[in-house]
Amino acid sequence: MSTDAQAPAPAPLKKVNRLQLDVSSYRGSKTTLCAGCGHNAISERIIDAFFEMGVDPHRVIKLSGIGCSSKSPAYFLNPAHGFNSVHGRMPSVATGAMLANRGLLAIGVSGDGDTGAIGIGQFVHAMRRNLPLIYLVEDNGCYGLTKGQFSPTADFGTKAKNGVVNDLPPIDLCAMAIELGATFVARSFSGDKKQLLSILKAAIAHKGTSLIDVISPCVTFNDHEGSTKSYAYVKAHDDPLGEVSFVPFFEDISVEYEPGSTTRVRMHDGSHLFLRKLEETYNPTDKLAAARLLHETLARGEFATGVIYIEPDKDDFLQLLNLVDEPLGQLPESRVRPPRAVLDQLMDQLR
């Protein structure tokens, strides 16, 4: 059972984080996905990111919809409560949970079908609300669990395993997210360990919604010649915006950077994100520039990866709702049931 891992006493030389926990406190159950599935690499990065950030795993909730991607929350952070909900509806469940307990740290894992098709409505409104949530899409351009049908992120002209060519344009979830008001939008590749880890750590530090679209090839149904989401194609067309480095608030900034070629973003929690530019003109806090970049790279048949857009200090949904500091779900009766005098007053108004 995915319950509190009775962590064995740490071996003397085992690496521990700032909570004195070793990485085993962040692991999950054994994966049941295909060997070589990009999703497994992403789960590994999630484990590393939460471990290195020193997040109490009991504070984390991990949620998902339905599909291959949505199975993966079982494969990381066993000590965290998990919720594998219904197809395309992870955002609403995550929203409710965060309303109930603002002290939680939520990571929602979805897929390109779960988000881009059946869940596009909930995706859209989640992006608008800027709820504290890491919304990670494991994007392989196909429905794996039902054997390889195209999903809405399948690129125009890409070929399915059975030879069918996709004749519809793809939905670019990052472009949509930026347009809809998301405050942290990134794209990465499951095979790029370093970049993905930095992005995940930055997302953990971010206070609003982080949308991370991770191209994650499906080794069984979408890794062939003619597919634009195969390992080979993605490696050849990955166009990193630059190097992404992340320094959490609890570490000294020792990164040497040249202000001209590197953008430094101060995150809300005091962490820092360093984005070394490969493209001279790119500014990740400029919404229009971000949208233009996505359109241009898509037109070239490339994937722009890295932190595409960031707005670190925008009020999140819980601030907008002006909630009390304590978790709503834990308020005692005395604070949620008004006194008798209130009912008397209401009754008097109706007489």
Partner: protein, 614 residues
């Protein structure tokens, strides 16, 4: 039509046999003409005079321009269900006036807008022609406001015709418009003008009149949705997610008002609640489930189309055992149906909402007071049983104005159900599993995210008692059998039926929800007019406790009275009941979108009694 009527002088009914405090007034207007204030003033005046009243709004799914009818029933015996027959018509709408008049029983009275010339239509009614435009023009110089103020003139005319207390009416008007002094003054003038004109120009020729009583002392007037919102407030709701839909919207909207007023932290000014107007009903229930899973008391409110959309999530709440409260203020289906008319048509769908072997707890409030009480009960039950609870109100109960005794402050503390913290799990010494039945009641213990207690993985896919994924046949069966056991436990926890046995009769009625008030009146009709005594059981929840089946066994003919076409509750009683009892059950159905009335029940029962078993 008028050409076929006799040309002779109208026969005016004799006013000699007066009918006191027992009539219904129907006011026919155009939607959006501002008649609601005038109608509520009438209702409230009668109420303040101590006369039992009820008010029902029959309105179109439209903002302005279509016909609307408001019916006020005054009844000295306290009957507050709809009365089918109209006694006094106020015909303000030219489009419907002819049909409105032609539908009346002989002897009724009609107050009408003089230019409509309705008196030529029939000779067996009492007509009062009132030049509304002329009267209102004298008191209201602003032509734009006349259309609104005109309504208050018919209040004045009725006040004079029925001998309503002028002081009470002034007070009722002040209650409605007290915060708007200009509007108040204008309407007061219109009211007086109507009264004065009527006293100077009309000769009373109908038998209807009012007289002060003391039957409403201490009572309140309230809509069911308001009562339910109040229940949610005192239930300590912390998360509300909803999507606008008639006739449910006024429930969350009223709740929002209450929460903003009574649930802001006095020290910090911050909210002890979260309300989200979601993107649709699916997301609404998703948010409720997420919130309840993480420890909140969460609810949503909707109507038929909403629970259709919520079905998948309802099954998740049932199978993954997450508390959720769903108010369904029923309207007429199928599909969009008649959005502004009432029905009890979601019984079976709520009970079995979602695919697979899903069974849901359904509460059936039968009064505004029960809207309040069952709202509180629904949260306790959802958390105690860790499942979705549907509260099935309807448009008639939710949006119409009902008399009630004042509500009681909850005596019992809030029940948060079986929730364990880290210590609690430890104390169980390793026996805890998320879906393990430790108490034999089918209800497992849960832990909350963020509490530091051991975690588990919630899923709608197959799971064993340790919440691990499984497709094993024995694991599946064991789990759903426990869910069935939990549903058995629910029978003793839900609101129990109200049983009125009658010795020596073979006839009984089973009803629920708003049908109750018509049943009460119908039982009196059957006894007083036909000498037929009828036992009565009022259902208040599903699943049914054994008392329901025992009751059915005691009577030969049990009429299940309900407001749908297919006899849904009768069907449910057959599914759940004893096979031998099935032959005892009969249907009396009412499904035209209007609230059920006593006469329809009386006639329906008598017809079946005569046909088969009299």
């Amino acid at each position: 039509m008028s050409s076929t009527l006799p040309a002779s002088e109208p026969q005016q009914a004799q006013a000699s046999a007066s009918v006191t405090n027992d009539f219904s007034i129907q006011i026919a207007t155009v939607n959006g003409s501002g008649s609601q204030t005038a109608n509520l003033v009438l209702l409230r005046t009668l109420f303040q005079m101590g006369i039992p009243v009820s008010g029902k709004n029959m309105f179109p799914s439209n903002i302005a321009g279509l016909p609307t009818w408001y019916t006020i029933r005054a009844n000295r015996r306290g009957y507050i269900s709809r009365k089918k027959e109209i006694d006094l018509l106020v015909a303000m709408n030219p489009e419907t006036a002819r049909d409105d008049v032609m539908g009346l029983e002989p002897g009724c009275a009609v107050v009408y807008d003089a230019p409509l010339r309705l008196d030529t239509l029939r000779s067996d009614l009492v007509f009062y022609a009132v030049p509304f435009d002329k009267i209102v023009a004298e008191v209201c110089t602003d032509a734009k406001l006349r259309r609104l103020v005109k309504n208050m003139v018919y209040d004045g005319v009725l006040a004079e015709l029925l001998s309503m207390d002028a002081g009470e009416m002034q007070q009722a008007l002040a209650r409605q418009l007290g915060k708007k002094p200009k509007a108040l003054a204008l309407n007061q003038a219109a009211l007086e003008a109507g009264r004065t004109w009527a006293s100077e120009h009309l000769t009373k020729a109908d038998p209807f009149r009012v007289e002060r009583m003391d039957k409403t002392t201490g009572q309140i007037l309230i809509e069911g949705n308001t009562a339910a919102a109040m229940g949610c407030l005192f239930a300590g709701v912390t998360v509300v997610a909803w999507y606008p839909i008639t006739p449910s919207s006024s429930l969350p909207e009223t709740l929002i008002r209450y929460l903003r007023k009574y649930r802001m932290d006095p020290e910090t000014g911050k909210a002890t609640f979260a309300v989200v107007q979601a993107e649709d009903e699916i997301a609404s229930l998703g948010m409720v489930i997420g919130a309840s899973w993480a420890g909140a008391r969460a609810m949503t409110s909707t109507s038929g189309p909403g629970i259709s959309l919520m079905s998948e999530f309802a099954g998740l709440a049932y199978y993954a055992e997450v508390p959720a409260v769903v108010f369904d203020v029923q309207r007429v289906g199928p599909s969009t149906g008649l959005p502004t008319r009432t029905a009890q048509g979601d019984i079976l769908f709520a009970a079995f909402n979602s695919h697979g072997d899903t069974k849901n707890v359904v509460l059936l409030p039968g009064s505004v007071e029960e809207c309040y009480e069952m709202s509180m009960a629904s949260f306790d039950l959802a958390e105690r049983l860790q499942t979705v609870v549907f509260v099935l109100s309807d448009l008639d109960l939710g949006m119409n104005t009902w008399m009630s005794k004042p509500f009681d402050y909850p005596e019992k503390p809030i029940d948060r159900g079986k929730v364990l913290d880290a210590e609690g799990v430890k104390a169980l010494g390793g026996t805890w599993g998320r879906y393990r039945d430790l108490d034999g009641d089918g209800i497992p213990y849960r832990t909350l995210p963020g509490s530091g207690a051991p975690a588990y993985f919630t899923r709608g896919s197959g799971h064993n008692d340790m919440a691990l994924y499984t497709e094993r046949p024995d694991d599946y069966t064991k789990n759903v059998d426990r869910l069935a056991r939990k549903f058995e436990t629910a029978k003793s926890l839900v609101p129990q039926p109200v049983v009125e046995d009658v010795a020596g009769t073979q006839i009984a009625i089973i009803a629920y929800g708003t049908t109750h008030f018509a049943v009460e009146e119908s039982r009196d009709q059957l006894r007083e007019e036909h000498g037929v005594e009828v036992a009565y059981l009022r259902l208040r929840a599903y699943p049914f406790p054994a008392t329901v089946h025992e009751f059915i066994r005691r009577y030969d003919r049990v009429y299940v009275v309900e407001q749908n076409r297919d006899g849904q509750m009768l069907g449910l009683l057959r599914i759940e009941g004893e096979p031998a009892s099935a032959v005892r059950l009969r249907s009396v159905l009412h499904y035209n979108g209007l609230p059920i009335d006593a006469r329809s029940i009386t006639d329906g029962i008598l017809a079946q009694e005569k046909a088969g078993n009299a």
